[in-house]
Symmetry: C2
Subunit: 210 residues, 2 copies
């Protein structure tokens, strides 16, 4: 009795169903809401069933986090769609700014999803995992390094400054996103955070590129 689009067994594609259920919980309540029992409950299945697909609670949370990370990539991609300046140098700069704004925008729009995406904070190989790729087949980290590479190619950034520049950008944007979603800035009104975020991203790129 196949449903058609997905392979079917006892309850359909439970693996994906659990990730979907966990993602809904995460969006509503952050990483802590993605409890093993709540997730299986929402998927209409017994707690132990999760162990046929995930080796532990943490493993499930990482899978949900990967799903969230893919949405983060998509958010960056959407912002990058506006980077259409004919001048390659200007466009490269726009693309880097889009990374920062997409990252921050995603965190502010869906703090719960952002929280689970950063759960455990993944490892470096996690930053290249296919499950965390957006629609263009690139992970958030790759979108950042791509943008930096473009800046080098276009002559706006010295090659030997590429690595620290990438880490600086990542740190700043990530730091601001966490301070703004779960940190001391969390009580600031949204428009103020948007303005502050935009100002920081632009100020940082200006500062880095001469």
């Amino acid at each position: 009795m196949e449903a058609g689009n997905t392979r079917s067994y006892h309850h359909g594609d439970l693996d994906a169903a659990l990730v979907a259920a966990g993602y809904e919980l995460a969006r509503a309540g952050g990483a802590d809401a993605v409890t093993l029992r709540a997730t299986t409950r929402r998927a209409g299945v017994s707690p132990a069933a999760a162990y046929r697909h995930f080796s532990s609670h943490e493993d499930l949370q990482l899978a949900v986090g990967a799903r969230a990370m893919a949405d983060l990539a998509r958010s960056i991609e959407v912002h990058q769609a506006d980077a259409t300046d004919p001048d390659p140098a200007v466009r490269a700069r726009q693309r880097l700014i889009a990374v920062g704004e997409g990252y921050i925008g995603f965190a502010l729009d869906s703090p719960g999803a952002f929280d689970i995406a950063m759960f455990g904070l993944f490892t470096m190989e996690h930053a290249f995992a296919p499950e965390t790729m957006g629609d263009t087949g690139r992970t958030p980290f790759q979108l950042l390094t791509d943008a930096i590479a473009d800046l080098v190619a276009v002559g706006l950034l010295a090659a030997e400054r590429a690595e620290p520049a990438a880490i600086t950008c990542w740190s700043t944007v990530h730091g601001f996103a966490t301070l703004a979603t779960s940190g001391p800035l969390r009580t600031h009104p949204r428009p103020e955070l948007d303005a502050l975020g935009a100002r920081i991203v632009r100020g940082l790129t200006d500062a880095l590129l001469r």
Copy 2:
């Protein structure tokens, strides 16, 4: 039967004893290790006893976090002790760099303490709480804003750029610290992280101050 230095009741100063016990657990295992039961166990007391001093588990964790935050302030103060250049402008710059290096150094030296310090990520008023002050009576956040204010006073930074500059510094340093302790950079060898951190802090201040 007073012990002398501390007021005594049933078990001595349980409030402080619990924070101390929790801090040891946090240093060894991060915020998650500061479980209510483990902390009371280590203090030689029953779990429910904690509720005479803290309204909830989270409340206890926040108290332990404040203790860790005070140590963070002390780490910054130690680094700032080296900022002794006779030129006030150079000294102001040194002091800002010391904030970043003290922050990052503390995170790398005691990731568990750093983790609990950032637990819940505190609120803005938490950033001014006396329990989080170092030996100079200033909190980490205040040490940062002090340094920025000095730069303005000395003419190295325009006054209207002070606030975004402060948030940028905070974001970058905080972001790098989390990426380096619990993030994808966590597997990098320590000396490499030290060098990277120093390079980022210096590069950022150079970029911000013209």
